[in-house]
Every structure is written in structure tokens, then in C-alpha cells.
């Protein structure tokens, strides 16, 4: 049985790291959803130009690696703004804008999944476009989208480990610091794998259950 007492000794460091990872995930989901909704609204209510801009936005953020986005926001944005941003804020902004691109595509697909006939019927029933979206399309689309949102959130939880490159002490960064300091690489990294695995597995199982409930 390997000696795991050093993990107990560093428990609070690891726990704080995990908390930071989860907070970043929550912030990324909420911010990303807000940006995603905004992008979809731009698509719905502006013409060709708006669609073009959103297309370009989505294309750029889906083409470049998240690490590069984080570098942009950590190193370059303070130069543009003329004031410091800090690792925490820049990571949240990077995640928000990055996830926004993905969420807007999920939203778009979700809205498309509601058949066009529904829209026509609502309009024929005397609703205007906004009302039709609000009362007819969105409620149906959201049910279809929630599991996909949550799956995306699990992916984001894993991606938060990338804040490693800006020295934020998330779970993975705390793990590497402890691994290097105590020289116990095998045990430390194995434990970290187990923690991520169990969390993501549990979350995935939860999403699957939700999916089945909706399908009923």
C-alpha cells in the first residue's frame, strides 16, 4: 500500500484547487450561455451583416486552441486596455467568450430542431416573432438542449485545467506543485486522475439520467 499521507497533508491545497476549477466552470457556463444567447439573438433579429459577424466570431473561436485564447487575454488585453486584468479575470473572460461560440451553435441547433411548422402556426395564431420565440419555440428547444449544455459543461470542467499556463492554482496546478515539491509523481498524478474521472463520470451519469427523463 503506497504511503498517501502526503495527500492528506496537502488536502486543503487540493480542495481549494478543486473549488477554483468548479468556480471557473460555473462562471464559464453562465458567461458562455449569456454570450451564446446574445449571439443567437443577433442572428435572429439582425440581417445578413449580423449573421456574418456571428459566423466569423464562431469560426475564429472554434478554429484556435483555448490555450492561445488564454494567452491573448492574459498577455495582450491588458496592453489594449491600458490596465491590468489579472489571471483570474482574464481566464474567466477567455472561457466566457470561447464557450459563447460553442453555446451559440448548440442554441442554434436546438432552435432548428423545433420544426418550422411551429413557428408558422404561432405566427398564424396572431403572435409576433418575439412572442412566438418566447412562448412556443424556446420552451421546446430548451428541453432538447439542456443535456447538451451539461455535456459541454463537463468538457469545460476538464478544460479549466488549462489555466495551468497562467499559474492559477486550479486542481491540476495544485497537483503539479505538490507532485514536484514532494517528488511523489506517480501517487499524486494517479490520485488527480481518479478525482477527475469520478467527478466527470458521476456528472455524465447524471446527464444520461436527465436525458432519459426528458425522453419519457
Amino acid at each position: 500500500m503506497p504511503d498517501l499521507s502526503f495527500i492528506a497533508r496537502n488536502a486543503s491545497f487540493l480542495f481549494d484547487g478543486l473549488l477554483l476549477s468548479l468556480t471557473l466552470t460555473a462562471a464559464g457556463v453562465i458567461g458562455g450561455l449569456a454570450v451564446g444567447i446574445a449571439l443567437v439573438l443577433v442572428r435572429l433579429f439582425t440581417g445578413v451583416v449580423g449573421n456574418c459577424v456571428v459566423d466569423a466570431y464562431v469560426f475564429v473561436f472554434r478554429a484556435i486552441p483555448l490555450i492561445l485564447v488564454i494567452f491573448w487575454f492574459y498577455f495582450m488585453v491588458p496592453l489594449i486596455l491600458g490596465r491590468p486584468v489579472g489571471a483570474w479575470t482574464s481566464a474567466i473572460v477567455a472561457f466566457t467568450l470561447f464557450e459563447g461560440a460553442y453555446y451559440s451553435e448548440i442554441l442554434r441547433a436546438g432552435l432548428k430542431s423545433v420544426r418550422a411548422g411551429q413557428m408558422h402556426a404561432a405566427l398564424a395564431g396572431g403572435m409576433n416573432r418575439a412572442q412566438a420565440l418566447r412562448y412556443v419555440i424556446f420552451p421546446q428547444a430548451i428541453t432538447a438542449m439542456i443535456p447538451i449544455f451539461l455535456t459541454q459543461a463537463i468538457i469545460l470542467f476538464q478544460d479549466t485545467s488549462l489555466v495551468f499556463v497562467v499559474s492559477l492554482h486550479d486542481f491540476l496546478t495544485a497537483t503539479t506543485i505538490i507532485a514536484n515539491r514532494d517528488g511523489r509523481l506517480v501517487e499524486t498524478y494517479a490520485s488527480a486522475c481518479l478525482v477527475y474521472y469520478l467527478i466527470c463520470l458521476a456528472a455524465t451519469a447524471g446527464v444520461d439520467r436527465l436525458k432519459r427523463t426528458f425522453a419519457r
Binding site: F13, C52, D55, A56, F59, V60, Y74, F75, M76, P78, L79, I80, G82, R83, P84, V85, G86, A87, V166, S167, H169, I177, N180, R181, G183, L185
Partner: protein, 289 residues
Amino acid sequence: MFIRKISLLAAIVTTLLPTMARAQDADTALKRIQQTKAVTIGFRESAAPFAYLDEGRQASGYSVAICNRIAQEIGRKLNIPHIEIRYVPVTPQTRIPLIANGTIDIECGTTVNSLGRQEQVDFSYAVALAEGRLLVKKNSGIQDLSDLNGKIIALAAGTTAERYVRAVLDRTKINVRVLQVRDNAEGLLAVNSRRVDAFVNDAVLLGGVLRTAQNKDDLAIVGKPLSFEQVAFMVGKNNSGLLTIINGTIARMLASGDLHRLYDQWITPYGVPIDGAVDALFKIEAIAE
């Protein structure tokens, strides 16, 4: 179609960026400190004894101790009674961009003053001297850089070692493969796991990282000094007000002997006592009132 959209976007971005980049005023760091009532100090997490994250997750070390004094002095000069000190972890690769973009006010680690870096940042008075040497396994038989032909060495990305070692290698036609590591802890790890044969860095830093190793007795610091450099604190360009306070604090700490005490506490145990060049440096920098 996509291509058109992208080129449109690129055109917008390239025209916007330069106009958004503002001209910088003087002493931005002091203004920032005045506004936030806090000094933001960049420190290294794995550069003992100069700066490191201790067991209690606090910034610690020789440079950090000096900078804490500097922060108090800044608070006194700016009439901020309980000035807050914020610590931001930096790595050799992030420290200069973070000074340049204003995320940190002072970098208190183990940065070597070089002409190349002076084009981007300014340096305080030196607080220590650095000599590049090799960390090796004792049983490897490696005594100097010349023994490394056909071997693998680790260099920390973003350090001056990266440049002077490459220069020596080119000059002496020694053929080695270089592995870039992120910091000193990873350099030690690379030597210990036999991924590389030697890790090149400042001897004091090598001593600092050696102390954390479980197998100290298997390792040695060897070789003729590969460099002679000054370790100093960094601030952004056009911050003469801040630099005056920093240098004043260092000079007064030297005159009172406080800096010598810190040096003896942190650095002397690593075999570099205050004599010879360090002694001369400290005498010269103890500028009178």
C-alpha cells in the same frame, strides 16, 4: 465566402488594435498602487531561496522579504497606512510580459539584469550575483560542460541560461540536445528521472532546488561558472518614481545592515557568502543619504 468574412474581420481587427493601444504615461505603477492601495508583487513559485511557495502556500524567500520592506516603504511614501500586498505567481516565461502589461508592479524573483531585457523593462539595484552551473547526478561522471557531448541538458524556458548556454555550445561545437523545462522543480525532476544529464541554472537556485530533493546525496552542482550576472527586481518602463523608492530602500537596507542579515539568512547557506564580488557590490550600492 468564409474567406471574405475572415479577411473582413482581420481588416477590422488590424485597424482597431493600434488605435486602442494608448500612449503610456509616466509612473503608471505608482498611480495604480495609489488607486488600489495595494502593491502587486510577482514572485516565483519554484525559485528558492530567492522566491518560492512555502508549505503554508505563502510567498517566501530572500527577494520576497526585501520586496515586503519595499512595499511598506511605498505605503509610507504614498501615505497609505495599511498597504495591501498582493502576490501573483510568475514563471520565467510570463514575468516580462506581466511587467510590460502592468499585471504586476514589481517582480521579485531571481531575474538577471540584461541589456536585452532593458529594452522592455527597467531593473532595480542588484541584490545578488548569479553564476550558471550544472546540476548533475554524481554517478554520471560529468564535471563540466565539455563532458556533455552527445548528452541531453535541461534549460528553463525564458531564462538567460537558455541564451548563454546555446552561445557556449555553438562556440565550442559541443553537440547536445536541449529540453525546455518550465521551472527549477521540473529541471530537478528531469535530472532525477534521468530524462536529461544536466540542468543548467544559477548555482544558488540549483542549491535551493537541491535542498528539496529526496536524494540530495546522489546529486551535485559542478562545472566552471558559465556566466556572471546580476540578480535584480523588475519594474515597467517609465516608472522612475517607483524605481527611486525601490533603490532607496535597498540602499538604506544595505547601509543599516538589514540586507546583509537577510542575505546571510537566505543565500549564504548555499555557499555564496558576502565576500569578494558580493561584498564589493553591497558596498557600492549602499549609497549615502
